[in-house]
Symmetry: C2
Subunit: 337 residues, 2 copies
């Protein structure tokens, strides 16, 4: 129920000489009258809300203290559109074109030659190996600060080839609302993505309300060195960590250090993250976003080259995961412009 | 100045129909009438407080928004006593004795044989290599959950060989107050230690008020696998990351993703972390804890085999780092029991 009256909250904290208090007020990035306004009243929404109410009911049998309310979200295909290709692949392609003058050899070397010809399908025909080669060649050889600026410039202007929207306008409104809703219930929201950690951080706080320290992703190695006497971190063309499949629970343990109680994913790349989250003895919730909406977004699952959802879907019934049907469950896909 | 009157804070938030707010109230682990009661009114305390007031003064020229108030702390020798040896080395030694029945070969293999003979000096004569060998042999071959339980059991009872105190009673009271003080000023406090990330996490929240996701340290590799059908993370006897020296800024970037504005350290292992923190164009503060108190704690710097402070001390003047003199600046070292 949306309340249209101004809400006044008066919080009185009495510190009797010795206690300390910390008050953090964060305005949430999505403004909406009702917390989950873009979600239809369907079983998947009801299951999620029922779970959240259960674990936040003080004194209830499934109560989870605030410190353990960790929710993890995949990014590509879970928080924003990943078709016809990962957004970061578009970034890598644009970088190849930008850097081409310094790399004449790319004109005759794959996958670069295909990118320069505009033949993106061929460029990616080598699968993960091609993508890693493109990323190493275009995301390294600069400091972390320079890379951050490159991403900020690109993401401010880059547009989706089919909708013409900014990529950051193609985040899912219902998922923005879900993250806000969970945060309002004391959850800490983390992104756990196969995408580059430093590719997401420069805009994740603005777009998702997730600060850099709560963004986990794939990374290249870096080297600390003094450049002109200035301490710098240089990005090296060497993979440090691939945060996909079984890498996701490993990264969750390394970065977060405790097991989430909620995990949202959309593909087989999220399978192990959901298994890890939902194998505990505590209350837990696994959710798959299923791309069923060929009109408003894309319709794909078992046969897609991007965001393939196959084994995780097979296991979802047995493991009690909620499967979101984008067409049925969401009354809006993208934020209003 | 301590205020002994009850403090009443009334916070009024007006959400005009659409904004969301999040309020987090955390009680701080150390109760004290004055925020920095164990700090004498000396230049080092004054410099730190002056800095904090400057960066939190809204509208001031050096104001830093809450989201960028990141403070990092080394652990061994900065937050707790590291003499006569790192606490984690005592843990590894106890593990060697515990696991010896399963490893008869250790009776004739160094550094294990020395540990079993109780000759800890010889055991560590191989330097970092010996320590890594001991850690790999005693911290791996189990799941992350089993290791956590092992640490919890050990830290609850293990005592310092010279004071007979629990190791967790040998944390520095002034530093507990400093972390609380910074948190009360909107800072997020992180531990960035050469010690094992999973060795610190099980007790860091209780002892320091730092949650697992804000603890950064050295790590072993882990492997995700189904053990008896149950998703598990198995700890492998292989170093994943050594969070020392230039590893510290690298780990800060990987885990936090933005540059701290305050760094506390005590040894040359913290040099690069302090350089990285204090090289930015923003307000920044580097602090070294100098072990000058041979009566209440230990007196050591340039010649110590543990926590050697040499180059960082040389650079502290030129780089404007605050050097804390434990004997002069702290009126109490450990918490009252």
């Amino acid at each position: 129920m949306a309340t249209r009256l101004p809400v006044v909250l008066c919080l009185v904290l009495i510190g009797l000489s010795s206690s300390c208090w910390l008050i953090a007020c964060a305005s949430e990035p999505t403004a909406n009258e009702e917390p989950l306004a873009s979600w239809n009243d369907q079983p998947s929404r009801r299951s999620i809300v029922e779970f959240v109410e259960r674990v936040t009911l003080e004194g209830g049998p499934d109560y989870v203290p605030v410190s353990d309310r960790i929710a993890v979200f995949d990014n590509d295909g879970t928080l924003w559109t990943e078709q016809p290709m990962y957004v970061q692949a578009f970034f890598a392609f644009d970088r190849v074109k930008e850097l081409e003058p310094q790399h004449p050899e790319w004109r005759t070397t794959e996958p670069f030659a295909s990118v320069l010809r505009g033949d993106l399908k061929s460029a990616l025909s080598g699968g993960e190996r091609s993508l890693v080669a493109l990323v190493m060649a275009t995301h390294a050889g600069m400091t972390t600060e320079e890379f951050e600026q490159t991403v900020i410039r690109w993401i401010a202007e880059a547009r989706h080839p089919q909708t013409g929207k900014l990529f950051t306008e193609m985040v899912y409104q219902p998922m923005l609302e879900m993250m806000s809703y969970l945060r309002s219930k004391g959850f800490k929201t983390f992104i756990v993505s196969g995408g580059g950690i430093e590719f997401m951080r420069p805009w994740a706080e603005r777009v998702y309300g997730v600060p850099p320290e709560q963004v986990i992703g794939s990374s290249v190695k870096t080297r600390f060195e003094l450049l002109d006497g200035r301490p710098s971190l240089l990005r090296l063309p060497e993979l440090n960590f691939l945060d996909d499949k079984s890498g996701k629970p490993i990264a969750i343990q390394l970065h977060i250090g405790r097991r989430p109680i909620i995990a949202f994913g959309n593909s087989d790349g999220d399978l192990e993250m959901l298994q890890w989250t939902t194998a505990s003895d505590r209350p837990h919730l696994g959710v798959l976003v299923r791309h069923t909406d060929g009109n408003r977004e894309y319709r794909y699952d078992r046969d897609s080259h991007v965001g393939r959802l196959d084994r995780a879907l097979d296991l979802s019934g047995e493991l009690g995961w909620v499967v979101i049907d984008m067409e049925q469950d969401w009354n809006r896909v993208y934020p209003e412009r």
